[in-house]
Each structure stands twice: as C-alpha cells, then as structure tokens.
C-alpha cells in the first residue's frame, strides 16, 4: 500500500522525545504499521534518545535470558517438550493480586451495569425517604427482575466482551464463562435489590423477596434463549417481555391510581404463582444444560 503522507524527520524526533500530542502519536503509529520507511526513521530517532539506550540495554538482557534458557533446557530434553518442564526464568516479582477465576467476573461488574444497579437502589431509597413517595417498592419490584437479565446482556458475548474473539477459542469460553458471569451478576444484584426492597414500606406491594424466583427464572430463560439467538437479542426479548407483561395490563386496567393497579398486577405475577416460577427456573436450567454445546459457537450471534 502506498500513501502520499510520510512522517517527516521533525515529526519522528518529536515522537521520540515524547513532545508529540497523543492523538498525533497514535495516528503515526497506525501509519508505521504499513510503512517500513517511516518505521525505520522513527525507530532510529527513538533509539537515539537516552531512554532508547536504556531500553536497548534492558532488551539485550531480556533477550539473553529468554534465548539462552531454551537452548540449555533443550540439550537435556531432545523431545522438544523442554518448554513444559523448564523452570520459570525468574521468580515472579509480585504474584497476581487476584485469582484468575475472579478476573472472569471482571467485565460483568464493570462500568455501566454496576452504575445502573447503584442508581436503581440509591434512587429508590431517595424516592422513599427524601421525596416520601409511598409506592417506591412497587416500582422497584417491577424493574428488579430486569436488572440481572440486563447484567447478563452486558457481560457475555461478542457485543459485550472485548476479549470475546480470544475467549471463543478457549475451552472455558463457552457456558462455563457465561455462568460464572451470571453468578457474579446475581451475587451483586440479589442482595442489593432485596435489601433495598425490604427497607421500603410495603404499601400494598408484594414482599421484598417475591421477585427472587421470577428473577432467577427470567435470567436462566435469557441464557437458554441466548443459545439460539445470542445474548443481546435474548436478553432484550426477555426483559421487554417481562416489562410488557406487567405494565400493559396495569395501564389498561380500569379504576384507581396507576401505582395501585401496578401493585395489583405485580401481586398477580408474584403471589401464589411462586411454585410456577420455581418450575420455570428448573425447566430453563434443564434446557440450558441440554443446549450447552451451542455456547461453544456463539460467535456470530
């Protein structure tokens, strides 16, 4: 590929001494990927700096360490599996702070979703205590089952996980990782939402724990549906379906203030039908187990 633009000598020097603005530095680096001429020029400029000399020294010692050891080890093990039995080149300066299994939870509990969970719980408490809004628990229970479902949407799959392309080629990247992250989402949202609900006055709404089984069933249902249509679509369908099932009849029902009708609708969905939700959760779990193979190839959905 040829481009009309090339890095001038002063641009290379400014890149080397670090005075080039970050945006310019990045576009220069992008250009270097395809232009050997400019890469050579910039490389020479960087090596001419004090840091360059230092880096060359460090690289030299690292290379010596990295290239001599395999030779030594190979000499004693001609089978070529030397690398497996070779001891670590250096003792780790610092062991990783967290167990890798915990890192798997990382993206689930990062950023927007955690922020949304916090604003739901804090918003509900403020609405009740500061504004004195009596029907807060009704509103909280309406959206509570959607919170873990949206958490699943934001933690697994090609749309949510920047590492998905690498993950998809690993043995643990399928259902195991999806379940790990779902467990993390539930582990945070279940206590947060239930305790918040318990801190709010009942005023006609179902109990604070009434959403737990429906929430679990809808989350497992999302994961099962995701094995057919992908995480993003599945969670949108399930969350949208729940909200429609609760809100549409409540709005359409005659008489009384909207929050009373909503509380009545929630009571219909929660009270007395808990065994039904438990059965739904079990059925979804069984279906999910049967569909686990689909998670090995979820890349295109």
């Amino acid at each position: 590929m040829t481009t009309a633009w090339h890095a001038a000598e002063d641009l290379a020097l400014r890149y080397a001494d670090g005075s080039l603005p970050e945006a310019d530095a990045w576009s220069l680096e992008k250009h270097l990927e395809t232009c050997t001429g400019c890469a050579t020029r910039v490389s020479a400029a960087v090596r001419a700096t004090a840091a360059g000399a230092e880096l060359a020294e460090i690289r030299g010692s690292v290379l010596t360490a990295a290239t001599t050891r395999p030779e030594e080890a190979r000499g004693s093990d001609p089978c070529g599996s030397a690398a497996r039995t070779r001891p670590a080149p250096t003792a780790p300066r610092r062991t990783p702070r967290l167990e890798p299994a915990l890192w798997a939870l990382g993206p689930a509990l990062r950023g927007t979703w955690l922020l949304a969970l916090l604003s739901v719980t804090i918003g509900a408490l403020l609405l009740d205590h500061a504004a004195g809004y009596a029907a807060t628990r009704t509103l909280l229970l309406t959206i509570a089952p959607v919170v873990p479902v949206s958490g699943v949407a934001l933690s697994y799959g090609p749309h949510a996980d920047p590492l998905h392309e690498i993950t998809a080629a690993t043995p643990s990247g399928g259902l195991r990782l999806a379940l790990t992250r779902t467990a993390a989402v539930l582990g945070v949202s279940v206590p947060a939402l239930t305790l918040t609900g318990a801190a709010l006055p009942a005023s006609g709404a179902p109990g604070a724990a009434a959403w737990l089984l429906p929430g679990l069933a809808l989350t497992l249902g999302s994961l099962t549906l995701a094995s057919y249509v992908g995480c993003r679509t599945a969670t949108a369908v399930v969350a949208g379906g729940w909200l429609a099932a609760v809100l549409v009849p409540a709005v359409a029902a005659p008489g009384g203030p909207l929050t009373t009708r909503l509380a009545g609708r929630l009571a219909t969905c929660f009270d007395g039908v808990q065994p039904g939700w438990a059965a739904a959760a079990v059925v979804c779990a069984a279906l999910l187990a049967a569909r686990r193979g689909a998670y090995d190839h979820l890349e295109n959905r």
Partner: protein, 249 residues
C-alpha cells in the same frame, strides 16, 4: 504432534480449501479479502465451516469433548482483539491461561515465560491501556503461547512491530515452529521469506499456490512477475498463473 486437515466448502469466504499442515511455520499469503482471516478463524474453532470437515491435532472438532481438548492445546492471536484496559500485562495473560484451563500451580511460571518470550518482561506490571500498538500486538502473542500450544494461529502478528522487533519476532517464530504447527497470516513477504518453512497463497477463497518460500522465489525468477523481492515476484507470478487457470471456468 499430528498434522491437521481442513476441508471447507460452500462459503463465499473460502471455497473447496483442502489443506494438510504439519510441524513448521506455515505462511498464509494473499490479497486483502482472499480468506486468510476466515481460514484462521476456522482453524481456531471460532468460526464453523458451513460445509466440510475440520480435523485438528488428530481430532474431529465436531464433537464437544474433542473441541474442548483441542482448544486447550490451541493458541490464537486474532487480527483485532480488545482488552480490559484495567488489566496489567501479567493479569491479562494469566486470565487467558485460566480460560485455557492451565493448572493453577503452573500458571504464574507459564505467564512469566510467555511475557518474557515476547520481550514484555519489563512491562509485566503495566496496565494494558498504557501500551503502544506494537506492544499490544506482542501481548496478543504472549497470551497465544501461554499454554505452549501444539497449534499456534497468528493473524497478522507483525503488524505494528518496528523492523527490529520484527526480526526478533521471526526468530521466535522459527523457535516455535521447530516443535509445533504455526500458521501465520501476513502480507509482508519478508516475513514469509525469513521465517516460514512453507507458503500457502490464497486468492478469492481458493488455494492459489503451495510450496516452500524458496520454490516461490524461484518461480518469481523464472516467470518474471513484477516485484522488488524474489518472493514478491513469485507471489505475483503465482497469483497471475492461478487467475489465468481460474478464468475459463
């Protein structure tokens, strides 16, 4: 180490590709859109062929159990990959080691080794977001080799490396190719000439040429294709020859 066989038919990206790859470094060359990335993604078990059979490391990847075992012995550097910016280099590689189900006891040593092999040992505690483009690329190679894979798939590994790093990287490739099957897609003919034991040239989803870099260079010399490097001349000559035979169909 067993070789691998790929048959892959009926898709637009790759058509009737039939390959057997053994130990060594296999260069995958071809114009943009020729199907290099599609082929690597199929070999990485990320994409599934719409038709045909893929056998990796002696196992048919259609079975779940075999798929898991093959994936544990794979290394894959995608052409583009994201990362969690808050992770350090060491955490990133250890996380992939966990995904590949490496025994927990051996993981710290395996991580140190992989990071040192790509020359990032001095940046092991740096956050990934502070790394330059070339360093992120090398980090990608480190995560791919952390499990000492038997099959290593590298999609454009030398993009973003400066000439000196590229020379060092080819050295690493030759070292890895001595005991494993390495498949490298690239559009830099110097990489192929310097580090590959075999070249596969793809064009429009079909295999246009297979042979050693030496044979490709010789083809360039005899048929006189345009280019600045013997392998480059071989590349254009092989492509033209392939297109000439494909055209009448």
């Amino acid at each position: 180490m067993t070789g691998l066989r790929v048959r892959h038919r009926g898709t637009v990206a790759l058509d009737s590709v039939d390959l057997t790859l053994g130990t060594g470094v296999h260069g995958l060359l071809g114009p943009n859109g020729a199907g290099k990335t599609s082929l690597i993604r199929v070999l990485a078990t990320v994409a599934r062929p719409s038709a045909g059979r893929v056998e990796l490391l002696g196992r048919d990847t259609a079975g779940r159990r075999a798929l898991g075992e093959v994936r544990a012995r794979l290394g894959y550097l995608p052409q583009e990959f994201g990362y969690y910016p808050g992770f350090t280099v060491r955490e990133f590689v250890a996380y992939v080691a966990w995904l590949k189900e490496l025994p927990a006891a051996g993981t710290p040593a395996a991580v140190e080794r992989a990071v040192a092999r790509v020359g990032l040992a001095d940046r092991a505690d740096a956050k990934v977001r502070t790394l330059s483009g070339g360093m992120v690329r090398r980090l990608g190679v480190a995560q791919a080799i952390v499990n000492e894979p038997d099959l290593l798939l590298l999609d454009e590994p030398t993009a973003g490396l400066d000439p000196e790093q590229r020379v060092e990287f080819r050295e690493l490739l030759r070292e890895l190719g001595a005991s494993t099957t390495v498949v490298v897609s690239t559009h830099l003919v110097e990489d192929v000439a310097a580090a590959c034991t075999e070249v596969t040239l793809l064009d429009a989803g079909r295999v246009a040429y297979r042979g050693t870099p030496g044979a490709l260079a010789a083809l360039g010399e005899t048929s006189g294709g345009p280019g600045d490097h013997p392998v480059e001349r071989g590349y254009t000559a092989a492509l033209r020859a392939h297109r000439a035979t494909e055209a009448p169909r």
